[in-house]
């Protein structure tokens, strides 16, 4: 099981622990990751807001390197995943676009390889049965809300591996680790993404709704697969609570961190001590 690996800019900075934990669980589960050498930014929201062609060419540069190796690309960041799927689909569907992008890159890119969300690789390629066999610390007792946000599952034509309104991939993983995946209604609502940086006043309202609904559903923590979601829900949680005169203490996890804990890694080695809302007390209270 070998994939090209595209961490993306966030995983080198605010989401270091996502990178760390993804690599550790990959190793344990026998997923071989070949990090794309000298990878560059996918352009994120800024590129597609400003220029469609730029928003295709930037991810394509990375996809083209992996294509030469004949590898599909595993991507932990939901936003990068979405941009890369958009680029590869546009190139695959139009010869004209394929020519334009290849011309801009200065090398041939045909989109014969595919982008895969790292969550999809873990749950569907490795499989829950094999994961269960390797669990050494079941997450018994933890009540968790799986939060997918936008770009992992929408638009379904592009993302394709789960349902856009009621996705279950992460819920099934949580259950496989013996924790409880709660049913709640905000699992695919938007956290504001990068809008929350420029217009924090709008962002915190969106963030608060998600946090509040998770808590009201009985969640002790939220699980994500997106660095932007985690940053918003974790770093801006205090502000969101303050603005709404509420008190919140909801640790936010990357799915790879919880998977790592269940596979036997220490929370510190997974980077769990770098979150703003400290998740360690919750883990300790549950004997983890």
């Amino acid at each position: 099981m070998k994939y090209a690996y595209y961490p993306g800019c966030s995983l080198e900075a605010t989401a270091k622990e996502y990178n760390l934990s993804a690599k550790l669980v990959a190793k344990k589960l026998g997923i071989e990751l070949w990090e794309i050498p000298d990878w560059s930014c996918c352009g994120a929201t800024a590129a597609h807001n400003r220029d469609y062609l730029l928003s295709l060419a930037l991810p394509a540069r990375n996809l083209a390197i992996a294509e030469k190796e004949g590898l599909d690309v595993a991507v932990p960041c939901a936003a990068c995943f979405n941009r890369m799927r958009t680029a590869e689909t546009a190139v695959r569907e139009s010869r004209d676009m394929q020519k334009r992008i290849s011309e801009i890159l200065g090398s041939e890119y045909k989109a014969t390889n595919k982008t895969r969300a790292f969550l999809d690789v873990v749950v569907n390629d490795v499989g829950l049965e094999r994961i269960k066999e390797q669990v050494v610390k079941p997450l018994k007792g933890l009540k968790l809300a799986a939060y997918y946000g936008c770009l992992l599952v929408r638009p379904p034509k592009l993302t394709s591996f789960d349902d856009p309104e009621e996705p279950m991939t992460m819920d099934r993983l949580i259950e496989a680790l013996d924790a409880e995946a709660l049913s709640w209604s905000y699992k695919t609502e938007c956290c504001g993404g990068s809008l929350s940086t420029a217009r924090t006043d709008i962002g915190v309202k969106m963030i608060y709704q998600i946090l509040r609904h998770a808590r009201d559903a009985g969640a002790e923590g939220i699980v994500t697969a997106c660095p932007l979601c985690l940053l918003n829900l974790d770093m801006r949680q205090a502000q969101a609570a303050r603005v709404h005169s509420d008190q919140l203490n909801l640790p936010i996890f990357y799915f790879t961190e919880l998977l790592g804990v269940a596979l036997g890694y220490e929370p510190k080695d997974l980077g769990l001590d770098t979150h703003f809302v400290n998740p360690v007390p919750l883990l300790e209270a549950n004997g983890l």
């Binding site: 929201t45 800024a46 590129a47 807001n49 400003r50 220029d51 469609y52 703003f276």
Partner: protein, 190 residues
């Protein structure tokens, strides 16, 4: 808004309509105004026109009003509307086309959003990757609010979550080339 003669407005706005249609791939007349997009839009509470109304303005030849709207700039690109629209209208792409056209005409209703994105892409062009620390500093300088997100920078630094120095990729020329060629193709990245 003042009273307008719609048939005249429609004629005068044809070129704008054609432009956003060709850039977004959206056929405006496909939208039958059911409102499903706007009912589910998570940012609608902050918008001046709902996403459905933006389409309606363009359909009616009142594109000038759409160009002034904050809505396209506040769209979070969450893809909810596009996933639900019974007519498969790619609204986020339409929002992009409208704001790009607005910008070309010098209309920028959301300065902060514009400055943030420009700072972001400048870093990518220069280093090949986004650099969050540099981005925050740039953003705060350009919006003249050195205190705002700088408040979040120290805790991020403390948690080793952002590094003070940018990392440049080796083959930076290949990224610079992408930007240059897109600009040559008449791209709107400024």
């Amino acid at each position: 808004m003042e009273r307008v003669e719609l048939s005249v407005a429609l004629r005068n706005n044809r070129s704008l309509k054609n432009k956003v249609e060709s850039e977004s791939g959206v056929v405006l007349s496909d939208c039958y105004q059911c409102g499903k997009c706007s009912a589910g839009c998570p940012a609608a509470f902050a918008m001046d026109y709902t996403p459905r109304q933006v389409i309606r303005l363009l359909q009616l030849g009142l594109g000038g009003e759409a160009l002034k709207s904050h809505t396209p700039w506040l769209c979070a690109s969450c893809q909810t509307c596009y996933s639900r629209c019974p007519r498969e209208i790619n609204l986020p792409r339409l929002m992009e086309a409208v704001r790009q056209e607005a910008k070309r005409r010098g209309i920028i209703p959301e300065r902060k959003v514009d400055i943030f994105e420009k700072a972001f892409l400048d870093t990518v062009e220069k280093y090949g990757r986004a650099h969050e620390m540099g981005l925050m500093v740039q953003y705060n300088l350009r919006t003249l609010q050195p205190i705002k997100d700088a408040l979040l920078a120290p805790p991020l630094l403390l948690k080793r979550k952002i590094s003070p120095l940018p990392l440049k990729i080796k083959d930076i020329d290949s990224v610079k080339n992408i930007f240059a060629k897109v600009r040559n193709e008449g791209g709107s990245k400024q």
